[in-house]
Amino acid sequence: MGAPKKSAARVSVSEDHDELVRVPLQAILLADSFTTKFRPITLERPKVLLPLVNVPMINYTLTWLESAGVEEVFVFCCAHSKQVINYLEKSEWLSQPNFTVTTIESQNSVSAGDALRVIYERNVIQGDFVLISGDTVSNMSLTQALLEHKERKKKDSKAVMTMVIKRSKTNPAIHQSRLGTDEIFMAIDPNTKQLLYYEDKADYSKGTLHLENSLLADNPSLSLHHDKQDCYIDICSPEVLSLFTDNFDYQHLRRHFVKGLLVDDIMGYQIFVHEIRSDYAARIDNFRSYDTVSKDIIHRWTYPLVPDIMNIGNTATKLERQGIYRGSEISQSQSAVIGPFTVIGSGTKIGNNTKILKSVVGEGCKIGSNVLIEGCYIWDNVTIEDGCKLRHAIVCDGVIMKSGSVLEPGVVLSFKVVVGQGFVVPAYSHVSLLQQPIEEDSDEELEYADSTSAITSTVDKTDGVIASKVLDTHFIPASELGFGGVGYVWPKCEGGHEEEWRHSVAPITEDKILEAVKAMEDELELIHDGKNLPLSGELIPNSNDDSDDDDNDDSRDDFDKEVEATFLRAVHENIQENHLTLEVNSLKLSYNKIAADCAGALFYAMMKYAVDMPHSSADSLVQNVEAILTKWKKVLTSYLNDMDEQIEVILKFEEMCLESAKEYAPLFTKILHYMYNEDIIEEDAILSWEDEKKDADESDRVFVKQAQKLIQWLKEAPEEDDDEDE
């Protein structure tokens, strides 16, 4: 590898420097995220120049670096490098005292790794430096982190990097942080703060996490976190650069470099973490984090990097009550309503009866009358004509929305797109004047190849409905954005983008969460079915068995009772169907059950409830049952995707008729028929149930006999040729 010599030499040099001359604190700012998550916008403008609450992102990063005491910044420009350089030249950043900004341009770097290798070749980094990308917003104080880094370095020259982390809870249902990034698992030595394990692509389908045995053996104590957010602010020693140069296959800072160091144990280099508590730091990785960070800025977590203080340019923004930020010279009609936590750029005109809620509106926009804007990010000089409705969309500079057009949640309109009169842009579509490039960039593959494949596999099965709905946009001819519209609606490409809802600015709807949860569970089940992996020592009942495991009776009873109680509560408290599903799902997880159990238990609970309801005759009992089944059908059917599950329901019903609720015995066929009509139970299920019972005792076949007529009818109705007789 050749790393030891080089880095050792550098270490001694830099240490000497530390003692003799004060090395100015340097920073490397990557003005390119090397991803395509902000397409189509980033085809026309680099990500670091996109406005975040009306200020180009790079300003946040530079402002922070300056106030954190960094003296020299190297801005690495790659994509659209000319634009970045032009912007910086026009801004005041190049003429600051005690803060030099130097741009480094490289056209052929495709990853952070390449960028660092280029910088290493330039030989400009003299000591410890801050590595940050140009889309990071922070107000943290570096002093403490730097001090810790330096002290560790003094004690042990192998401590090459300090990562800044911050606590932030993830959404347990979809394993995603509030920034829209994947949940990260980190193992940290609580005493030394050494980072021992880093996994941002945990495989939830297995529900397990693999830690090396040695990790546990070597470290007396270790704390495993999943609620830490990686701020992507690193304090690095110069060795980091040479490490990248030595390992030329390192591309991604985390996936390759950090994991590389942790797993391969290169030269014993160590990474440490520094947790910030009251300070703020976050990186804008996708549209979701764009939304979240914007809101954090508006809510002033990033103070003093807030719109009313950090005025780039001449226009002052004023903060009014309830978090309304207003630029100067806004002309607003008396009847227009601006809701709390909204930013309006200067020179914007707002017409009558227009409502703007929780949005950011840039400078010089013209907004007509009766417009509704909610949760949107509208950049500069956008024209929105009368009667438009925009919800949770990003609208770039110069877009024109003709009157009455609608943007559904998650839409991204790139620069200068024109939406035709009355046109409804479907949810999550990306619209640009440019066609979608056919080839994915190589860096995208490098970076996200593993992630996309993982996601597609989870999504394939369950997201079918949604995916096809989204795919409809395929069929909209590209130039068609309604009458007078200009722009191409980008077709969704395979892989990755199906999970648009995860990363868009639109809030995640409940059914998406449900689907995600379900997808995860199905995945788990598939694996359990296949490999029969025991999860927590308890055996999982196999759904193929026609009789229940006796060992499991206790837990089964508990589970049934819990489900029944949950169902009754749902009935009495008027809880929504999907909430009930959620609750049953959580029970299912905690009791380690499969869908068939849920179906059985739920069905049992419903029938029990029906029979407990006052009824005078058998007819009214049937009515009760029908009413309940119709009302909660959706919940029940969500567990009845499979024949096995439906059979379980029939078996359960049989059991009830025999034991707990004998009143049902005479009505068995009637209710079964009803369920068949309502598509709760399919034909095949009934037939295979009958089939199963063929060889059973006579006593067990009471109900098969009772249902004989129905079965017969079922057999005959579709296929006359069936001559099998009982």
């Binding site: 005292p97 703020y280 809101k295």
Partner: protein
């Protein structure tokens, strides 16, 4: 010049990033900065004062824009402008007085005269002084003489004595600059010693065995209490901790280390304790022209509690905190909303702020200041003595000239 320029930028930067805290430090730095602006400003032959005023205004405008909430900056800018006007005036008066003593001595006298040709020295002085005061009924018409006399100026000044004039003017210019710098030095001196001057009055206000309540931490209050302690007064101090920054803790520590009997209470306990208190003594962020104060958050509550129990509410404020502006909508315009992280731990509450999955309903508001209306303030103690809130405008009239109320050169329209 570039030197001053970078100094100005540096200070603007610090103000913008909220790196300077405390009105005293800000005031002092602003004054020092303006001093160097003045000393580096080249003075033209004529209208030296105007040149200086314009230079100070240009810088002042930037400084005020950098942090409009830190009123001390604006105050100091206006004070310096006032000083320039005053020094210019006193020079003019002196020159005319000299002229009166030696009538018709030589050409230069004519030169001197051309500013105020017809009127007597006293009249000129009176007229010019009036420009330093806010407009009032009396002064409404007083400036007529000057404007009436102005046409004379151009006609009477002969071209011949250009040389001697320039010599004299430049020396006068230098003199003016020198005087102004001297005066600014005095101002800086005043700012740094205002604690002592306020503290000197402590014995008159704090009596034996009294109970004093304060909130948060203020250096002025600390010095004031300690000065009373040094004069062998024995009294007790209640310190409300001043959430969310809890600077009261620091003050309590400091007071206790100086041997004062100190009790820390929560902010919410103020009302419960106020009946036992003899006097509330607090510091202010700024004193407005109507006698209202901008003060650390929580003080309005304390003032109301004090009013309820008829406890005197005494505000200590150095004269650099006197602001010639009236508060309009002070709760919003003159406030600073700081980061919510001072109140809550971000990590703990991050799930309540996850707008993506519908949890974005938690909002945190962390205002820095309260506005206490003048009727709740019993007494101001400044470095010039104790004053009634309704008297503040007089002090302001002494310190500022009306022309400087608006530092921006554009007339202020809009909010």
């Amino acid at each position: 010049m570039p030197d001053v320029h970078s100094l100005v930028n540096d200070f603007v930067n610090q103000l913008k990033k909220r790196k300077i805290e405390g009105s005293q430090a800000t005031a002092k730095q602003a004054a020092e900065l303006l001093r160097s602006v003045i000393s580096q400003q080249r003075v033209p032959q004529t209208n030296q004062a105007t040149a200086l005023i314009n230079a100070v205004r240009a810088v002042g405008e930037k400084l005020i824009a950098a942090n409009p909430v830190e009123l001390a900056v604006g105050n100091i800018v206006r004070r310096v402008l006032h000083i320039i006007r005053e020094e210019d005036l006193s020079l003019a008066t002196a020159a005319i007085a000299g002229l009166e003593l030696s009538p018709g001595s030589d050409d230069e006298d004519d030169v001197e005269r051309d500013d105020y040709p017809v009127l007597s020295a006293a009249a000129v002085a009176a007229a010019a002084r009036s420009t330093l005061r806010p407009p009032s009924l009396q002064t409404l018409l007083e400036d007529t003489p000057i404007s009436a006399a102005n046409p004379h100026t151009s006609s009477s000044g002969g071209d011949s004595e250009g040389k001697s004039r320039s010599v004299d003017k430049s020396s006068r210019g230098r003199k003016l600059k020198h005087d102004v710098i001297e005066a600014v030095n005095e101002l800086i001196q005043d700012i740094s010693t205002c604690y002592e001057q306020i503290a000197e009055q402590a014995v008159e206000h704090i009596h034996q065995n009294e109970v004093i309540l304060t909130l948060g931490s203020s250096k002025t209050v600390l010095e004031f209490l300690c000065a009373a302690k040094e004069k062998k007064r024995s009294f007790k101090v209640f310190v409300a901790e001043g959430a969310p920054r809890y600077q009261g803790h620091l003050l309590a520590k400091e007071l206790a280390s100086r041997g004062l009997q100190t009790t820390v209470i929560t902010d919410s306990a103020v009302f419960a304790m106020i009946s036992r208190v003899n006097m509330v003594i607090v510091g202010a962020h700024a004193v407005m022209a109507n006698g209202g104060i901008i003060a650390p958050v929580g003080l309005n509550m304390v003032a109301l509690a004090a009013e309820r129990h008829a406890v005197p509410f005494v505000v200590l404020a150095g004269s650099h905190k006197l602001c010639p502006l009236y508060p309009h909508n002070p709760e919003v315009l003159l406030n600073e909303l700081r980061s919510p992280s001072e109140l809550l731990d971000f990590g703990e509450f991050s799930d309540c702020m996850d707008s993506a999955s519908g949890g974005g309903s938690l909002h945190v508001v962390n205002p820095t200041f309260d506005y206490v209306p003048p009727k709740l303030v019993s007494l101001f103690i400044t470095d010039t003595g104790g004053h009634n809130p309704s008297y503040m405008y007089r002090l302001i009239a002494d310190y500022y000239s009306a022309d400087d109320l608006v530092v921006k050169r554009r007339p202020a329209t809009g909010s």
